[in-house]
Subunit: 249 residues, 2 copies
DNA sequence: ACAAACATTGCAAAATATTGCATCAATATT
DNA sequence: AATATTGATGCAATATTTTGCAATGTTTGT
């Protein structure tokens, strides 16, 4: 088996699972762990992934460490992403927030859509490179290591200059009374500004984030136009938000 | 069997299997592995496939991840990069311009250097992720596809906010009378701003760029503090610039 | 602080590349 | 017709790269 084949396998698994282990690859590829380690090192040198103790993770992953990630999240989020896409139209200015959910949307974006994207996320900007008709405006600022988003007053100042049609808000906690909240102060600041600069807000939320709250306030629930979630099951939840004029998907 | 026939077989199998082995082709084509190797080399020179140890794989035309391009003409630039590093000290604020030379410097940056980096280049920001003690301030703006730098008035506005110690200026043309010039209008605008925001300018230039000029003016030659170049040969050039108080390396 | 897991380094064997050279066939030249 | 010339090919000797292993550090979790 060629070294390049191994590389391909490693990268493929990385895309699917967001992580690879030395032991697993060693067994799968029929080579020693040493070899896998060397392969990973080589790929890391090329910037195609990030080598970590015991394995590797994608080079620009989300903010959290990979060991506590669950891969089945991905499928659910993918469905959410596709729903969100249906709200985007040619000519719009869209703000993408920096989370992994927004990233999946960027990934699924049709190549012929002509929109202007404003974002503070490297991975998203990077994904949109191949989209010929998408203009990317990147918000500068202090770079948050490990998550590849910019934050801080410069970012906020940049975002204030826009009047976007839609803001795709990554996963936050949403609570009917307590509003939309997030776990990190500076990130929440940025999100708040994104919301202020947008006409419509589309929030992406896995079901377990509904009716929960975090430390930092972002905006009142009524400000949302659409909530896209994965479990339509909760009739009550559906009603609750519909009463506020929010469309549930 | 004609060489062209073999070529066709090789390319066909490559399309089908995404890989070919020397041994397999040698048996299939009834020629020695040496010949297959030579065939593959020839096809590789034409850019039709990528030669790898033990066989060949399709030439990846896909999304050129921005780090790929660093690898080739590396050596000469690498020497330049190392020279440049000796000018950087803990605590400084350094502006990195977006070229590949600046990228090599970023790559060679010692992990324990504590500096603040201001840049408009994704690749550079991305390279610095692993540098624990480097703070990265990223200049927002319109994203230039294919080169992954931001440009435009937002970028300039961002850069104006700084007073940096050093600006590492990628390769431009330098001419004693005509000053520093660049081939692209908007990029030159950005570079000019970087220079205005910096106390000292270190310019990186391969020897063939000295005493040449491009369309867009960036700054007078005297504004440079140091020129780092690869061929110390030219005694005259050395003198010419030394008279202006510029250090040549 | 300890053990276990993991990483790093040096090393030798195996696989693969490279180089120089001799052969051969096809074509060009005398 | 005889003889160079050229280019492709295979072979062998010599590098170079890859790989697994073992000995030795380093990190992590308890």
């Amino acid at each position: 088996m060629l070294k390049e084949e191994r590389f391909k396998v490693i990268l493929d698994r990385l895309v699917n699972d967001q992580k690879v282990y030395l032991a697993g690859l060693s067994a799968l590829l029929n080579v020693s762990e040493d070899t896998v380690r060397r392969d990973i090192k080589e790929l890391a040198d090329q910037g195609l992934l990030k080598s970590v103790r015991g394995g590797a993770v994608p080079h620009a992953p989300g903010p959290h460490h990979f060991r506590d990630r669950i891969s089945h999240d991905k499928d659910q989020k993918q469905i959410i992403a596709n729903k969100a896409l249906s709200f985007l139209k040619d000519g719009q200015v869209v703000i993408f927030d920096g989370g992994t959910s927004a990233m999946l949307i960027a990934q699924a974006l049709p190549k012929d859509l002509r929109i202007t994207v404003v974002t503070n996320s490297f991975p998203i900007a990077s994904l949109l490179e191949e989209h010929e008709f998408v203009e990317v405006l990147f918000a500068g600022g202090r770079l948050l290591k490990n998550s590849f988003v910019t934050i801080g007053s410069d970012t906020i100042q940049f975002l204030k200059k826009f009047r976007a049609d839609i803001c795709l808000l990554g996963i936050c906690s949403i609570h009917k009374e307590l509003g939309v909240t997030g776990p990190d102060y500076e990130e929440s600041e940025v999100k708040r500004t994104m919301i202020q600069s947008s006409r419509e807000i589309i929030a992406l939320a896995t079901a377990e984030k509904l009716e929960t709250a975090e430390a930092f306030y972002i905006c009142p629930t009524e400000r949302l136009s659409v909530i896209i979630t994965d479990q339509p099951g909760g009739q009550e939840a559906f009603k609750t938000y519909s009463e506020l004029g929010i469309q549930m998907v």
